[in-house]
């Protein structure tokens, strides 16, 4: 486990609400625990509100704005008591930060609450790097890795350098460039099951580029995209293993990769 930089005064510890995301909750609980331990290591008091479910993005992006708004209200109510909301996904964080105000634009009672929540919601890796000034200490992983920048994190939240800055501090980890690191992997939420043939064609190209990087590991900041790429890599018999970057930073990079048995 990594350790915090000199622990701040107990009273200065921010109360952080961890939004686990519906995917991590169901498919990869390890990611939730990695986020939890990283936030604690970075000097936060972490709460996991039990009333959380999904941020509502699948509904919102399908055109069901009302459905998206209903889930936005629930999420706001569950988290607005926290100092910060932290999410191990650029996509879900982007939904809260950029789109809750659109989903609730016609709801004058909730709009200010949506804006307030948006202002204190952060993607995990950028929160650790930018807001907590945290860097991993004593975390080691002897491996080569390449990094895919998921689109929402990159374009809605401007996350590009933060994960790399953090991963560079992991002893023994060699970061290799990925051609097309900023090109969509074809996941796109419900897109990948609504138009699976197109999604497949896109992710196949991505898989070839990931293999061409020569890295042993694929890292990223969004579980959905990682599942898409890892699933395509595995189907084509690739040996590349995929982790969420938070797992590596939390010292869990020696554990099972996505799709490996616990």
């Amino acid at each position: 486990m990594p350790h915090a930089t000199p622990a701040p005064e107990p009273r200065s510890r921010p109360r952080v609400g961890l939004f686990v995301t519906c995917l991590a909750d169901a498919i990869r609980p390890r990611l939730g625990f990695a986020a939890l331990s990283l936030l604690e290591a970075a000097g936060c008091d972490v709460e996991v509100p039990r009333a959380q479910t999904c941020c509502g993005q699948p509904a919102f992006n399908s055109g069901d704005t009302q459905g998206g708004a209903a889930l936005a209200r629930r999420t706001i109510a569950a988290f607005e008591g926290c100092d910060h909301v932290v999410v191990p996904s650029g996509s879900c964080a982007g939904m809260i930060r950029a789109h809750y105000r659109e989903a609730l634009a016609d709801d004058p009672a909730w709009l200010p609450r949506a804006e307030a929540l948006a202002a204190k919601t952060h993607e995990l890796l950028s929160f650790l790097a930018d807001y907590r000034g945290w860097r991993p200490q004593g975390v080691a992983l002897a491996a080569s890795a390449t990094y895919h920048d998921s689109c929402s994190g990159l374009r809605e939240l401007g996350i590009l350098d933060q994960p790399r800055a953090l991963l560079r501090e992991v002893d023994g980890l060699e970061l290799r460039p990925l051609t097309g690191n900023d090109v969509c992997c074809g996941f796109g939420g419900t897109f990948c099951v609504k138009y699976p043939a197109i999604s497949d064609a896109i992710v196949k190209e991505k898989a070839v580029l990931i293999e061409a990087s020569g890295a042993q590991l694929l890292l990223g900041g969004d579980l959905g995209c990682l599942m898409n790429m890892a699933g395509a890599l595995h189907r084509r018999g690739s040996a590349v293993r995929a982790f969420h970057a938070a797992e590596v930073l939390a010292g869990m990079g020696n554990g099972p990769a996505i799709g490996e048995e616990e």
């Binding site: 509904a59 055109g63 889930l71 074809g186 897109f191 896109i202 699933g231 395509a232 996505i258 490996e260």
Partner: protein, 467 residues
Amino acid sequence: MGTVFKRDVARALSDATLKTAIDRTTVTAERKRAAALTDYPQFAAARERGTRIKDHVVAHLDHYLLEFERNATASGATVHWAADSEEACRIVLGICRGAGARRVTRSKSMLGEEIGLPHALEAAGIERVETDLAEHIVQLAGETPSHIIWPALHKTREQVSALFKASHRDPHKTEDVEAMVESARRELRDRFLSAEVGISGANFLVADSGAVCTVTNEGNAELTTTPPRVHIVTAGIEKLVPSLAHAFVLLRLLVRSATGADLTQYTTFHCGPKRPGDLDGPQEFHIVLVDNGRSRMLADAGLREMLRCIRCGACMNHCVVYRQIGGHAYGATYPGPMGAVLTPALQGAEKARDLPHACTLNGRCQEVCPVGIPLPALLRGWRDRSWKDGLVPQSVRSGLWLWRFAAERPRLYHLGTAAAVRAMRLFRRGGWIGRMPLAGAWTRYRDFPAPAGRTFMEQLRDRERGR
């Protein structure tokens, strides 16, 4: 959901030659644009200016349209107004008939495609000679353009060579591009010169002078617009700019975004017909201003920003979907992200139902758009409408309804997730699921990582109890 779109997508995805053709052009375009931008540090500022110029024009469209009409008329041009594509074609055909034209030349114009002009000319028995090489290719093959900058992007050099050999009277003997261009030139040259009417599009309409600006790479627009006795310009009403200075701001954005060049080889301003003393120029100069849904878009806050589009094609060059399926699968004049926004507006949301959904909303199109059009937001706007209008398939609706019902009830949701996770594990082999009921769309193409035995919420509760 066996839509026409899905059928065409399947066909495109299985066509390896098409993919080669798409990659050859789009990869080069992407590289050249990136290089052009590093040499043009003012790009961000220009983009902002360009955006403001277009927004200003769109907000005062009536004013600039009248100013343009006044100045164009003063320069000797005849200005026509067309509310929709039928009217636009009727006006153009009327002018052709009046000129006794049996043959017209045309230079590339997406608006011409939008209003169905090639077809209308054919139906009227008027021979159409395309002066743009790519349009000539598309015409020979009996196809439609698959890209707004490179209409024949879907064809490889090799395919074009075979096509020319099969259809030109005196085809090329060597396999180089120059020889192929020569072949087309031999085929077309005398026809260029004997056409009575030339039809072109416009990149900009300059309000304070009444001039029409066209940009081409091949200098072919001149062939369309100078030798014939009559020149007709068809242009969408959103092409207006207040003055030449404004046109240049947008021109710089356009060429760098489209081809990565500093300026296209030929930028021409046409202002009225031939005057006494002019060396060349048409005797009649007609400008057909086409609305075709644009004023409807203007009135619609969810689409108005689309009127900024300067038709550079950058959004499709950088689109992961376009780069897999090419232009024809979009089934409309305009492909790619801009097409997915425009087509429902032009053809109706029902006919174009798939287009706004067949997008990952990754945002790269907006990032490269030289006038900052929020294409993902506009696409999401169409999804919103199609949900409200009941155009979203019932299977998707019911699935989402069920999920939302649970997600609004945290306790039920957590129980449901815990149960679903256990059910899913029944299908795993090792850590992966290769096939699973209800997940065919995923597992047909890729493996699905088996969930851990218990959800995060369950494990957390145990941890806390254990403490």
